[in-house]
Amino acid sequence: MLYREAGQFKATYAEDMAIFPIRQDRIALAVLLGIAFIGVPLLATFRIWPFGTDYLLWAILLPFLILALAAIGTNILVGYCGQISLGSGAFMAIGAYSAYKLATGVHIPLAWLGFAIAIPPLPVLASILLGGFMAAGAGILFGIPSLRIKGLYLAVATLAAQFFFDWAFLRLPWFTNYAPSGSVNAPELDFFGMVVRSPVERYLLCLAVVTVMAVLAKNLVRGNLGRQWMAIRDMDIAAELIGIRPLYAKLTAFAVSSFIIGVAGALWAFVYLGSWEPLAFSIDRSLELLFMVIIGGLGSIMGSFIGAAFILIVPIMLNVIPTKLGLPLSTQTITHLQFIIFGSLICYLLIKEPHGFARLISIGKEKLRLWPFPY
């Protein structure tokens, strides 16, 4: 009754092709954005429940936003273009470390040429975006094998990127500005004179970036490029026969995806972690992102958000529930139980709905259209 598009006539092609053609969807999105942009900061500023402490902002909303952004990037590559990648963590790391190097100034001595490349420290926003571009470059480089290799073979090939960059950031001290401990600290987040410090400010910053990127990504996948990606995903040989260039389509997918993942990595390091080690971007992170994309739904921007929320919140819940219930379990047992429950949940979800939460939502929408009648 509520979710019915009867009476909403589309008089122009533009209306028909709109990003949210149904009025109820537009209202729901506006409400959601209103809550995210105005409601949450207001509640957090005046410390009203559930924002009495910074816990919800710091431990859940901030990582959720950034990981959702990284999941969108992964989804463009895996979900829209069908190229399985286990190297997302590495691209996050490239974004983070490039942004760090650019924000603290780059100095490459070229002794044999007699001069040095020196770039002065750049503003934070510029270095975060440039970090994204560096990740995009690395993505294109490691995407080249995708022209010859497919499927799970490609997945293992992308592992090369993961392990190579893990090693590089750990072992080559140039990347960490010769920090003795190997961990680096983010510079102060100065945006045109406005310094972002408190959790609410950080949240708003991430929210703005994620919103802009998500809108861009959504429009990209609806357009020419996105359709090329999907054609390649569905059957690459057939796509080639109808005139889609695999080289261009695959490499743009790698570039766009790595750019978004790189920006997410820079945000993760600068805004969320503050100081970090290469371990923050290990293979576990790559697998986590892949889980988010698959549980959320391959080929769905909204699915990326839901998947990110699920993968982030379930372990936290599994951690909190036994303590809340007061079960007499050792921390070790709880950790092992977490593993078991998380693993079984993933298997269960994959069996029950291999197309992820996005599919469940579209089924729900269909049902809601007819509700309360069965047909």
């Binding site: 799970l152 392990f163 190579f164 090693w167 593993f339 078991i340 998380f342 994959l350």
Partner: protein, 309 residues
């Protein structure tokens, strides 16, 4: 002569540790051939088998049984555990997911990995357990030819012997037995195999069981080398480039790939490592796999991939 001696020593050490990678890779190949599942859980299965074996062995020896009886009983116990795991995986994960695409199956095996790791450590404990089934001291060969001789670890030789016996055994099993033939039929085309009356779910159970037993063998060797501990699961990741180099569907490929990776990474570590910062063992195998894939996308021994629209 010192340089040549050192080179040979590194090469032999690398080849031998490559054999151990092959032991893990074999399990992957068996499952991929028969069911098209890229089984990330193989490393976790090695951990589970190793933990079951070493804990049962410790318990039996502590109760005063002679060592050889205890070893046989413990291996039997671990085999039963692997059979139960195989049945559970087939019944509750792989069976319901039949006909899903490779990525979904791969992710489900990561879920299985979490479950196995959690359960194995919860039941059998999560410390480092030393396992002493094989001698771990070293031989020095050709002492007359090279100063100091060439150091060869006895355990590595045992590992190579076991791998050889295992591959021969698997070859006989696949070529000569009725179940082995059925396995190959399922690997070729599972719908056709189903239609001529081969029970698919039974075959898949057998495949997972064989992979579990291969994991048990790998666990005895790796457990003796490193002690049975959680880090054994990372072997699964090291076995991936081995598979890719050898080809996902080839048993000899798993062995050859293991040898190439083992020798390559040891040689690279010794001869290239010092000039670019050390620790390149960490990624060398993957970059090697990438290079092989660019030349031969199906791996060295993999079946040629023919695509049709």
């Amino acid at each position: 002569m010192i340089a040549l001696g050192q080179f040979l020593e590194v090469l032999i050490g690398g080849l031998m540790s490559g054999v151990l990678y092959s032991l893990v890779a074999l399990g992957f190949v068996l499952i991929f051939k028969a069911s098209g599942v890229f089984n990330y859980a193989q490393g976790a299965m090695v951990l589970l088998a190793g933990l079951a074996l070493v804990r049962a062995l410790d318990l039996l020896v502590a109760n005063g049984l002679p060592l050889w009886v205890a070893v046989i009983l413990a291996i039997g116990f671990a085999a039963v555990i692997m059979a139960a795991t195989a049945w559970l995986i087939e019944r509750f994960v792989i069976g319901p997911l039949v006909n899903q695409d490779g990525l979904t199956l791969f992710m489900s095996t990561i879920g299985v990995t979490f479950v196995i790791e959690g359960a194995a450590e919860m039941i059998f404990g999560s410390d480092v357990y030393p396992l002493r089934l094989f001698p771990t001291d070293a031989w020095f060969l050709f002492e007359g030819l090279f100063p100091g001789g060439i150091l060869v670890n006895k355990l590595d030789v045992w590992g190579a012997l076991i791998a050889g016996v295992l591959v021969a055994g698997l070859a006989v099993f696949f070529q000569r037995t009725k179940t082995g033939r059925a396995l190959r039929a399922v690997a070729d085309d599972h719908l056709a195999a189903h239609s001529i009356g081969i029970p698919i779910s039974w075959i898949w159970f057998v495949v997972w069981l064989v992979a579990g037993l291969v994991a048990l063998v790998a666990a005895t060797v790796w457990g003796t080398k490193l002690g049975v501990q959680f880090s054994i699961t990372f072997l699964a990741l090291k076995a991936l480039p081995v598979l890719i180099i050898g080809g996902l569907t080839s048993i000899p490929g798993a062995i050859v790939g293991g040898l190439i990776v083992g020798a390559g990474e040891k040689l690279a570590e010794v001869y290239l490592g010092p000039s670019i910062g050390g620790g390149i063992e960490y990624w060398f195998a993957y970059v090697l796999a990438l290079a092989v894939l660019l030349l031969r996308p199906q791996g060295l021994f993999g079946e040629r991939i023919i695509e049709r629209v």
